[in-house]
Symmetry: C2
Subunit: 251 residues, 2 copies
């Protein structure tokens, strides 16, 4: 059940079969299912447990008094909602389902046991948090400096790489593709644009042959071209496998 998480963490460090068993177990304790547009938790809630996305897409978002909404992160299978958030008394944002969702609810005590029991898993969780922070910084840059087409292209590049790192892309025939179960309105909330302009921008990306988007499937004919348009530099995702390799001497 924790397949995606394990696969993601192994971008950072190899895990022992013990580590994997521990994660599998934690992820199977309690599984919650939500319909799309339901919230996993809301701003103001007390953090109760760690949520691990098992299946489906979700988003972090904040809503201003007057209703304007910003999606601050897109969450895909394998994403952990804030390993240490339990330290805070109240959530300062909400997380909602984009598609129907299965979420593992992992008690904070279980997380603490895991991190105390395995230095490797503890470091892997840290790495995971650091990457999340790096993504947030990149989003700030994206919203602050990139114009519409660059911004959307950048988001597509990021999603493609993140999905690939958990095995959720198709790359047969040299033309990579992935499922994007997101409406243009949600894309607008994520990029700080209006829906109309998201649509215009998508049209332009199609005309320029940067993407093919039919139904829920996005195909990227030329990843390099898309990255060039986006001024995309993948270093912030830290997918370089350069962390410490699994050392067989460690338990």
């Amino acid at each position: 059940m924790a397949f995606h998480l394990i696969r993601k963490l192994e971008q950072f460090t190899r895990l022992s079969s013990d580590d994997k068993r521990i994660l599998e177990q934690a992820a199977s304790l309690k599984v919650r299912r939500l319909g799309s547009r339901e919230d996993i938790f809301r701003e103001g809630d007390k953090p109760r447990h760690i949520n691990l996305i098992l299946d489906g897409w979700a988003c972090r978002y904040k809503v201003l008094e007057d209703g304007r909404r910003q999606i601050t992160a897109l969450l895909i299978p394998g994403d952990l909602c804030d390993v240490h958030m339990f330290i805070l008394t109240r959530m300062d944002h909400s997380v909602g389902a984009i598609t129907p969702l299965s979420v593992a609810e992992i008690p904070t005590d279980t997380i603490l046991e895991i991190t105390h029991g395995s230095a490797r898993l503890s470091r892997a969780f840290w790495w995971n948090s650091l990457v999340e922070e790096a993504i947030a910084r990149e989003w700030v840059t994206n919203l602050g400096q990139r114009e519409a087409i660059e911004r959307v292209a950048h988001l597509f590049c990021e999603l493609f790489l993140r999905l690939r790192s958990v095995g959720m892309t198709n790359s047969q025939a040299s033309c990579p593709s992935f499922e994007l179960p997101v409406t243009q309105e949600q894309l607008a909330d994520a990029t700080g644009m209006s829906t109309v302009h998201v649509n215009r921008t998508i049209q332009e990306m199609r005309e320029r042959g940067l993407i093919v988007w039919k139904g829920k499937t996005v195909t990227i004919p030329d990843l390099e071209a898309l990255q060039d348009v986006a001024l995309f530099n993948a270093n912030y995702l830290h997918l370089d496998h350069a962390g410490q390799a699994y050392d067989a001497n460690e338990p």
Copy 2:
């Protein structure tokens, strides 16, 4: 020397005199001084130690290939640059001095000793990281949803509260003020606006009586009015003192 950090962490939990002594010691091991516009570290560097801002202002920033620059965070005394960043192999952004700066360089081993030695300090560091993340999410929202005057007003509100939480504001005469050693160009890089439009926006804020900004001093005649313009909600700063109080039984 670690005065500001201690004061900030005590927003979350009371610290014992032992905790404070440990922090003081760590902060005095090695102090580095930089001139304004020098970098503490650059994108691509290996993280070597944890940097604690003792005195002066700094900023995290990212630069796109074509030179566009986004400031993703403003750092003030008491701010720690990424307690756990040493897990990553390369920095994905730079941190530069805005004013002349003193920075304590704390070895990663020292940080690990501290967190292993004191559960309270460990939690306090986590709280600190979580607040930094929350600020990053708020900046995403700021850039994505707020228009110019709201955006600048929001930044001023945030800075005021953060400075106040480390004792760096003046509140005599019911009219709070603080030192803002930041140029309009840097403000532009932080808010994703052009310098010209930052200036226009500042002028409007002055006309509307929201701020007085002379030299490096900003005065806020009516904080509530400023917060209203900014659609500001302070919950993301988690300054509520609601964390666990200091328990005398803990070491």
